[in-house]
């Protein structure tokens, strides 16, 4: 049963990635321009453009071109992924964990006093944090904590923790991770709030209350503990949306990750690299959702494999 579920999800993810590739390929070929000239760059001489056209197999039938493009993508995309994906992944994981922990605490406070001022203020604050553009939040954090207070560095990390020391890396990661977390607390708060709402009407919570546990303990030990496991799925589902903010957060904090590299490639008219990065980012978010789903299935044996 489990093996079939895994096989099905892997197949689905592969097909989705293939569809993204097909859409990207179709888009490039639908453009009213000379594709080889775009890929070669704005300053390439005609001889280079002709060579690029040969390499891309532009005289071949479209299905053959697609196959050729996919093979070349594997060769050029994987090194890009190996170089830039780790930092992006670290930022995403840290930002999500930070947001989930903050939302967890807020949801706990809200559940203790429903409809109170704290309840409303927490929801309002989470929404405002979402509504503020993340490039603005990131810059304000840099302005206040790096330039005014001189507490933290103004740029994010560009080396992995092992080569610059974990303490260094962590101090550089604080502001970017905080920026990313602020943009997604509202989502997590909705999730935890809903989970609490649902659980408070359940049998096991009635039993816990009947045992004489305090309301705070009921929520903490019985309600939120059960909400933690499905949170893995929320993390996977929110990955593509969160990545929208990752792109500017990396840029604002001068981090060399997948998102900022995409911006550099696009603004520098390096389209062959940009298209590779588009596909790497697509593979990254699709793989992320897949891993989240599989982890959840492994962790919760009750999951329905339908």
């Amino acid at each position: 049963m489990m093996a079939r579920y895994i096989a099905r999800r892997v197949l689905e993810a592969t097909l989705t990635l293939l569809a993204v590739g097909f859409a990207t390929f179709g888009l490039l070929h639908a453009l009213p321009y000379n594709l080889a000239a775009i890929m070669a760059g704005p300053t390439a001489p005609p001889a280079v453009v002709a060579q690029v056209a040969r390499e891309m197999g532009l005289n071949l039938p479209l299905p053959a071109q697609f196959g050729l493009w996919l093979r070349q993508l594997a060769a050029t995309g994987l090194p890009l992924a190996a170089r830039f994906a780790p930092l992006t992944l670290e930022l995403l994981v840290l930002g999500s964990v930070l947001a989930a922990v903050a939302a967890f605490a807020m949801a706990f406070a809200q559940a203790r006093r429903p409809n109170s001022l704290i309840d409303r203020a927490a929801s309002l604050a989470a929404y405002v944090a979402y509504a503020l553009p993340s490039f603005w939040v990131g810059f304000v954090l840099i302005y206040v904590f790096a330039l005014q207070l001189l507490w933290l560095p103004a740029t994010g990390p560009n080396l992995d923790p092992s080569s610059q020391g974990i303490a260094n890396w962590a101090t550089e990661m604080v502001l970017p991770a905080m920026t990313l977390a602020l943009s997604t607390i509202a989502l997590w708060l909705t999730y935890f709030g809903g989970a609490i709402e649902e659980a408070l009407h359940s049998e096991y919570v009635r039993t816990a209350r009947a045992k004489g546990l305090s309301e705070g303990r009921v929520i903490l030990a019985h309600v939120l503990r059960n909400a933690l496991l499905p949170a893995i799925t929320i993390a996977g589902m929110s990955l593509p949306t969160l990545f929208n903010n990752v792109i500017v957060v990396e840029w604002v904090f001068a981090m060399q990750g997948l998102g900022s590299e995409l911006i550099y490639s696009l603004t520098g008219f390096d389209y062959s690299r940009a298209v590779d990065l588009v596909m790497v980012i697509g593979a990254f978010t699709i793989l992320g959702s897949l891993v989240a789903d599989l982890l959840y299935a492994l962790a919760d044996p009750r999951i329905k494999f339908s």
């Binding site: 989705t16 405002v128 696009l266 603004t267 980012i281 697509g282 978010t285």
Partner: protein, 295 residues
């Protein structure tokens, strides 16, 4: 004022009247409504009242801090920040409304068709939304805007065409629930055509979800457009909040602190007002969606 309890004092009001009364009692509705009118008035009527609008380069007024003459100060070119902020709200609001409207219309159409159109249409449309929702929305927008050359028109189109799947998913899920209800069966038994059932029985009952999905979509597209604009592949500079902020960043670092907060606050006020209104309308249409309290 009658001393009788309300239930005795008045006959049951028609549904529409009850909804209106619920809406008018809702604090979120008033707070959101006042904020929205304020920010729209600020962006579209404000410029008519401000003497600094249209003053492009005032050499005598460069980099002034906030004062009575320039309430939010001036930038390095001597442009009044308040005047810029007012005019700078127009294109994000207009582009956001248009993109959200187009995305929502496509999403509503696709969602109801998927939810009510049979299994083949459903699975085909859901696979398409799967693909869209698996990739960060900003990525295809940046690629296309960069290749085609960014313009307001192309941005609105591309954002709408990448944003609709989120709405379609929500509308579909609700349509699947509504179509199981007995009154749908009754309408079909009464001889209503499929399109009549869809437009007269399903859409009205999905309306509360549609309204919230549309206001969520507005927030989403405004933020997506802000990100693209900030990067330089979105709305044309300089007269919009994101471009203003991008241009002011180096000057803020060199000491013009008064330029840092206004653009972010403007975005938050705009999105918060629409969010509160959407929530209030949802509660009025479907009080049960509150999750607590009584209908």
């Amino acid at each position: 004022m009658s001393t009788l309890p309300q239930t005795f004092a008045s006959a049951p009001a028609p549904r529409a009247a009850r909804r209106w009364r619920r809406l008018l009692r809702d604090r979120e509705f008033w707070f959101g409504g006042v904020l929205l009118i304020a920010i729209i008035g600020f962006a579209f009527l404000g410029p008519a009242l401000d003497p600094h609008v249209g003053e492009h380069y005032d050499m005598a007024a460069q980099t002034l801090g906030p004062s009575l003459g320039h309430l939010l100060g001036t930038n390095v070119l001597g442009q009044d920040e308040l005047a810029q902020l007012m005019v700078g709200g127009q294109s994000p609001i207009i582009a956001g409304v248009l993109a959200a409207a187009v995305a929502s219309l496509i999403g509503i159409a696709m969602g109801t068709i998927a939810g009510y159109g049979g299994r083949l249409a459903d699975s085909a449309l859901m696979r398409v939304t799967d693909v869209f929702l698996s990739v960060p929305q900003v990525v295809p927008i940046l690629l296309i805007e960069s290749l085609l050359g960014a313009s307001t028109k192309s941005l609105i189109i591309v954002v709408a065409l990448t944003a609709w799947p989120a709405t379609a998913r929500i509308v579909r899920a609700r349509t699947l629930v509504v179509r199981q209800q007995p009154f749908i069966e009754a309408a079909i038994a009464g001889g209503a055509s499929r399109s009549r059932v869809l437009l007269h029985h399903i859409v009205p009952n999905v309306l509360d979800e549609i309204i919230v999905a549309t206001t969520n979509q507005f927030a989403n597209v405004v933020l997506i457009m802000a990100i693209c604009t900030f990067i330089g592949l979105g709305l044309p500079p300089p007269w919009n909040w994101a471009s203003m902020f991008a241009a002011d960043m180096p000057n803020i670092i060199s000491g013009q602190w008064w330029l840092v907060y206004p653009p972010g606050i403007a975005f938050a006020v705009l999105l918060l007002s629409v969010h509160l209104l959407g929530e209030a309308v949802r509660h009025a249409l479907n009080p049960l969606s509150l999750g607590h309290g009584e209908p």
